[in-house]
């Protein structure tokens, strides 16, 4: 019963995080939501008995991809500031 409730909550938060990451106007916030999505996805993989995928998702999907996206946001902001 508790496991089912947890799974439903996880699925709902996944959809919510994905929706927020796609629709928010602030790019920084969108990247944060993408990382949240990645970490929740890792939890979902763990729940699906795929710990290998969970590890890879947490490290590569949320960690490195998040760092790269933050970098891009920084570049975009710097470029926006320099423009008159």
């Amino acid at each position: 019963m508790i496991a089912l409730a947890f799974d439903l909550l996880l699925a709902a938060s996944l959809l919510w995080a994905a929706f927020r990451a796609l629709t928010t106007l602030d790019l920084f916030r969108a990247v944060v939501m993408f990382i949240v999505f990645g970490l929740l996805m890792a939890l979902a993989w763990a729940r699906l008995d795929a710990p290998d995928l969970a590890l890879a998702e947490a490290a590569i999907g949320a960690g490195l991809a998040g760092a790269l996206l933050f970098d891009s946001v920084g570049h975009l902001r710097a470029r926006g500031r320099s423009r008159p």
């Binding site: 629709t23 290998d52 590890l55 890879a56 490290a59 490195l64 760092a67 570049h75």
Partner: protein, 229 residues
């Protein structure tokens, strides 16, 4: 862009995503039973794979060819990034601002633990979840963290060492893959040696993948700063 078109576009994207998700759910529901179930043959051949964890056995023994090509693709991606930089030397980018003292002390604490965790994941890959990719991702995250804190050691920034390190894993894998060619086919490890060979490949892969993954982050061209100069 006015507010109206922005909202319209957002709605369009939402509707598109919703219908795509609906179609995907429908497709999964309508999926026929797979004609071939591979879990059985994998289970049956586990004692010939040299490891006891089925995922590692599939990735590095039964379907080693896929993994070999994956590494080649990642290496190509990094070469692409380096080529897009335009300069002959794949130099490291500069830090935009001085790192925070808190970040530095935290990184000093974290980096050794991350190396330890990566070593554990590499070793654990043979009998439980873990393996080269996960270990490399942890190591790469450690290298990025060290770089952001301005603590990356000089030795890790040496150009020639890095180039050798990046291709070493792929070359080790290729050599091990080609070694059984004399007796039969590509990637057919001799059964008694399989465990040791897989550990050798995974060790090489961990180091190379860590350098490649972190290289993708550290070697991005500083496009904006170049424009400014």
């Amino acid at each position: 862009m006015t507010r109206g078109t922005g909202r319209f576009r957002k709605m369009l994207v939402s509707v598109g995503c919703a219908s795509l998700a609906g179609a995907a759910v429908f497709a999964v529901m309508a999926l026929p039973e797979p004609a071939v179930r591979l879990a059985g043959p994998v289970e049956a051949n586990m004692d010939r794979s040299g490891v006891t964890h089925p995922v590692t056995a599939v990735l590095l023994n039964f379907r080693g060819y896929d993994t070999l090509l994956e590494i080649a693709v990642l290496l190509l991606a990094l070469l692409g990034v380096a080529a897009a930089g335009g300069s002959e030397k794949i130099g490291l980018r500069r830090l935009p601002s001085a790192p925070h003292a808190f970040l530095q002390s935290l990184t000093r604490l974290m980096a050794p633990l991350m190396v330890l965790a990566a070593g554990y994941l590499l070793w654990a890959g043979s009998h439980r979840p873990g393996g080269a990719f996960q270990a490399a991702a942890v190591l790469a995250a450690g290298i990025v963290l060290l770089f952001l804190a301005g603590l990356l050691p000089e030795r890790l920034q040496s150009d020639r060492l890095l180039r050798v390190g990046m291709v070493a894993g792929f070359l080790v894998f290729l050599a091990v893959a080609a070694f059984p060619l004399a007796g039969g086919a590509l990637l057919q490890y001799p059964v008694p040696l399989a465990g040791a060979l897989i550990l050798l490949i995974e060790s090489g892969l961990t180091i190379s993948l860590a350098l490649i993954l972190s290289g993708l982050f550290l070697r991005l061209p500083d496009e904006f700063e170049e424009e400014e100069e």
